[in-house]
């Protein structure tokens, strides 16, 4: 088995169809783009992208999101397993990671395996078939860095941080809709994710204790991933965002207020860039 495993080789059965960020960004349609069919009022909650029960497409959007969570959990499982495998136990320098960090990664693999189990059960409950929606492999890509510290920053802090935001929203949705399972399950998964993010925050600090340059490289990578995972501003503090930044849970997971503010700024930037790209694309197609 190779030391490092490329995202293109992720093993899936024939039900899954994979895509990546570049392909997703090439889709220039935007929710609400020029629609005459919806009668939504600008002031209603459904005029935002946020998942709330009062959307006309609430259950379908929840199904799509849950499937996205499920494939994300599969990739998180694979990523944690790879980090437990790819680096030898050592003092944390070079290609090694502390033995205790390897153990944490194995523990995370178990947690993520449970999350796949939970989201597969929830998907069935919601009437979604496995592989019904395409799988974006961007999550595993962040787990492919050859520097374990970058993986901690990209996966545990950025990716799992996003999981906290998404689960918080799903939990709220389940609660509002009165779904007896959704809120219960998301609550449990949130507890695990907060643990994983905290794990990332603690290890990042510890491993780079005497290497400030490596730490700043890792934090820089985290910002890149954070912006990427913002999905063109889908997450953020604004009303246009699909997902709110879950500030309280992030605080529990070891993020400082400044760090959360930085993520919010990155989300805003990503949203502005995405809007500009769509405008440019529309202008170009109108000119043709």
């Amino acid at each position: 088995m190779r030391q490092f495993f490329p995202v293109e080789d992720l093993a899936r059965d024939e039900r899954f169809v994979q895509t990546n960020m570049a392909e997703r960004m090439a889709d220039t349609r935007v929710p609400g783009g020029g629609s005459q069919t919806s009668s939504k009022k600008a002031s209603s909650r459904s005029s935002t992208n946020r998942l709330t029960p009062d959307r006309h497409d609430a259950s379908d959007r929840a199904r799509g999101l849950m499937h996205g969570i499920m494939v994300g959990e599969i990739q998180a499982l694979e990523g944690a397993g790879r980090t437990a495998h790819d680096f030898d136990a050592g003092d944390g320098s070079g290609d090694t990671i502390p033995f205790a960090l390897k153990l944490d990664m194995a523990r995370q693999a178990w947690d993520e395996a449970r999350h796949v189990e939970i989201s597969a059960k929830l998907s069935a409950w919601m009437g979604t078939e496995i592989g019904e929606f395409q799988e974006n492999t961007v999550l595993f890509e962040a787990a492919c860095s050859n520097d374990p510290v970058l993986r901690l920053a990209g996966v545990n802090r950025a990716l799992e941080g996003l999981a906290i935001d998404v689960f918080t929203q799903m939990k709220e949705f389940g609660d509002l809709a009165g779904d007896p399972y959704l809120e219960f399950c998301e609550d449990w998964m949130l507890a695990d994710e907060v643990t994983h993010v905290k794990m990332g925050s603690d290890w990042l600090r510890k491993v780079t204790e005497n290497d400030p340059e490596r730490r700043s490289r890792a934090l820089e990578f985290q910002q890149v991933v954070d912006k990427l995972f913002s999905f063109g501003g889908a997450r953020g503090d604004t009303a246009e965002s699909s997902f709110q930044l879950a500030r309280r849970f992030r605080e529990l997971a070891g993020f400082t207020d400044d760090e959360v503010d930085t993520i919010a700024e990155l989300d805003e930037q990503a949203l502005a860039e995405r809007k500009a790209a769509v405008r440019a694309m529309n202008a170009a197609s109108a000119a043709n």
């Binding site: 169809v17 895509t19 997703r24 889709d27 220039t28 349609r29 935007v30 929710p31 609400g32 783009g33 020029g34 629609s35 005459q36 069919t37 919806s38 009668s39 029960p53 009062d54 006309h56 497409d57 609430a58 259950s59 379908d60 929840a62 199904r63 799509g64 069935a124 409950w125 919601m126 009437g127 979604t128 078939e129 592989g131 019904e132 929606f133 395409q134 809709a177 009165g178 779904d179 007896p180 197609s285 109108a286």
Partner: protein, 189 residues
């Protein structure tokens, strides 16, 4: 919507707008053929105009019938997400499209019944009325051989009527029904 001004694709009594898609890889003629096939299967003889909004990936659908006779024009509006292949976004998904358009044709056929005279226009239906009608349509589609995941519609119904045994029983009745009036269909569980 700018694309509505483009020429339309026509097959028999079915017209599809736009004739050419820019943001999604749909073929207007393929769409028109599918609508014609479904209309025949469900006995909808009306002239049909399908207007696709390709600018949004959302999946809202509505059907509008000018009168209740079989020669009254029927307009179906669909956001592109209702017709695409969810495994390969922006490409056409025949199964999903058949299910989406099938529901709209069944709605139109329902609207031709006297006991649907009080039904509000599609865009004025409440979320609960929509969920009930979707369950009623999806059950009929399944019995006509279309690939429909019952649990999806049960979940949708539960989201509107509650996660209760009563709601589940009402859903089962809707799913199995073939001959309901509007009031009966939307009655609370």
């Amino acid at each position: 919507m700018a694309s509505e001004t483009l020429a339309a694709a026509v097959i028999g009594k079915v017209t599809v707008t736009p004739a050419e898609f820019r943001l999604v890889a749909f073929d207007a003629h393929e769409l028109a053929a599918l609508v014609a096939e479904l209309a025949e299967q469900f006995g909808v003889a009306n002239p049909i105009h399908l207007i696709v909004d390709e600018a949004t990936p959302l999946a809202k659908l509505s059907a509008e019938l000018d009168a209740t006779s079989s020669d009254a024009p029927l307009t179906i509006r669909a956001e592109s997400g209702a017709l695409e292949n969810m495994k390969q976004l922006t490409t056409f998904g025949r199964e999903r499209a058949a299910e989406s358009l099938g529901r709209m044709l069944l709605r139109a056929r329902d609207r031709m019944r006297d006991d649907f005279a009080d039904a509000p226009p599609d865009l004025e239906l409440t979320l609960a009325q929509n969920a009930a009608w979707d369950a009623y349509c999806a059950g009929r589609l399944a019995r006509r051989g279309h690939r429909v995941v019952q649990q999806r519609w049960r979940y949708n119904y539960r989201n509107r009527f509650g996660f209760t045994d009563r709601a589940d029983e009402a859903f089962e009745r809707l799913w199995a029904a073939d001959d309901l009036g509007f009031a009966e269909m939307v009655a609370a569980p």
